[in-house]
């Protein structure tokens, strides 16, 4: 049996880089999808609103773990190689897109109605209204909850371990298999996750306080 050593900790830290990479992929993909979903949710067209809210209901009503399995095995069905990073990236993107879409819809709706009316009076078209008037203001409202949601993304990347993607949680299991000191190892893993997430939580709270003070 191996003794828990500095090398093991180094291995965990290297794996933590993959947690960060996967989080960034999920956040980037989720942002694009989330923006589309949010805009569809506030669209004038009932069909688009329906599709977007159906999508949100669907994703928020199924566990991310099942989503991971579906995209992992689904890739095989459409004849692609089963690459855990791709499957994890896709499912986390779908997941983040639904939640960010719902958060951002709230932020868009929080922009006062008078801003819409004023920009109507100025003769801006719908695209200009969004680009110059609504979204810049909605972005300011959206920053605190978005940073808060990033904590969820980082934590949920741990589920990618079940389809064999070696990130922090999987690395913890691997080290545990060779040293068998689960309490120490998983506490280390938890501490690394905490070090990643806690600054985001604090930042989210700070930004929220600042946003409220400004009003």
């Amino acid at each position: 049996m191996n003794q828990l050593s500095a090398n093991h900790l180094l291995y965990l830290l290297i794996a933590a880089e993959w947690t960060v990479v996967l989080s960034l992929i999920a956040f980037a993909g989720g942002s694009v999808l989330g923006l589309a979903i949010a805009l569809m949710r506030v669209s004038k067209l009932g069909v688009l609103r329906g599709i977007a809210s159906g999508y949100i209901q669907l994703i928020q009503g199924t566990p991310l773990l099942i989503l991971l399995f579906l995209s992992y095995f689904g890739l095989g069905i459409i004849g692609l190689k089963l690459v855990p990073l791709v499957a994890a990236g896709i499912s986390l993107t779908l997941y983040a897109g639904a939640f960010l879409g719902e958060i951002w819809r709230g932020c868009i709706e929080a922009v006062p109605k008078t801003q819409w009316e004023a920009s109507d009076c100025l003769g801006l078209n719908r695209v200009q209204q969004y680009a110059y008037v609504i979204l810049p203001q909605a972005t300011r409202i959206a920053i605190p909850p978005t940073v808060g949601f990033m904590v969820q993304i980082v934590k949920n990347t741990s589920l990618a371990s079940v389809i064999g993607f070696v990130e922090l949680a999987r690395a913890g299991q691997i080290v545990n298999n060779s040293t068998f000191e689960p309490f120490a190892i998983f506490s280390c893993v938890a501490a690394i996750y905490f070090a990643l997430c806690y600054p985001l939580s604090v930042a989210s709270r700070y930004l929220e306080r600042k946003a409220h003070a400004g009003r």
């Binding site: 199924t62 099942i66 399995f69 689904g74 069905i77 741990s158 309490f183 996750y193």
Partner: protein
């Protein structure tokens, strides 16, 4: 793409899925009830407790909310057993889910409790209510009514998150899916079925919490408006 979907396994294996879903319900109802009780106590401690107690509760909430549930489950199941405290997978799952639920409901209930105005407490004092009566009727119930939407969506999220307990071989819905797919090799179909079952379960939970809310909050039932 020439994949043929085949759900024939359902004819034979549906009792497995029902059993798995039933265990999911049992685990989560237990964890929600215990976790909510724990969270409420912690929230009271966080608002009315002394500085040491407040700090302790704060540390608990931050520690749980900033680490993944998967790792929490591993620490309870593998970690505690290596320290000599051997727990079955089911018990470990309930403990981990309860501790997790407790932290989230602490934060939610704290927001509710802090929204109860001081004058309400003074009025309760004047009416001669005991401390326990005040906490129950003047603080907790109105606090819960205010944060009930957030609370019930957190409960549904916990039900979905309970799928993670399959990783320590708790035979709930997701673990059932893994078992059936390894027998039938119909992975995609199996997880599709389970996804639909989870969707149905979350609709069921939402409906149940709506009913509980109606029963609990008399004012809302009579006037139809939130507090």
């Amino acid at each position: 793409m020439s994949y043929k979907f085949d759900f024939a396994f359902m004819a034979e294996r549906w009792p497995d899925f029902v059993a798995g879903a039933w265990l999911t319900v049992q685990l989560t109802v237990l964890a929600i009830a215990l976790g909510f009780a724990l969270g409420t106590l912690c929230a009271l401690a966080r608002v009315y407790g002394g500085p040491v107690l407040r700090r302790l509760v704060g540390a608990y909430v931050e520690a749980i909310r900033n680490t993944p549930l998967l790792i929490q489950i591993f620490i309870v199941y593998f970690g505690l057993s290596s320290l000599g405290l051997k727990l079955s997978a089911d018990v470990s799952a309930v403990i981990a889910l309860t501790v997790n639920m407790g932290a989230y409901s602490t934060e939610i209930m704290r927001a509710g409790i802090q929204s109860v105005q001081r004058t309400q407490l003074e009025a309760a004092d004047c009416l001669g209510l005991t401390r326990l009566q005040t906490i129950l009727h003047v603080v907790l119930l109105p606090a819960m009514e205010r944060v009930y939407p957030a609370l019930s969506s957190q409960f549904v999220l916990l039900m979905l998150a309970s799928s993670i307990t399959s990783q320590i071989s708790v035979e709930e819905l997701t673990a059932t899916a893994s078992l059936v797919q390894s027998d039938t090799y119909r992975s995609f179909e199996v997880y599709l079925v389970v996804a639909v079952v989870y969707l149905a379960l979350s609709a069921l939970y939402r409906f149940a919490f709506w009913l509980i809310g109606l029963g609990l909050f008399e004012r809302k039932r009579r006037l139809g408006t939130p507090l």
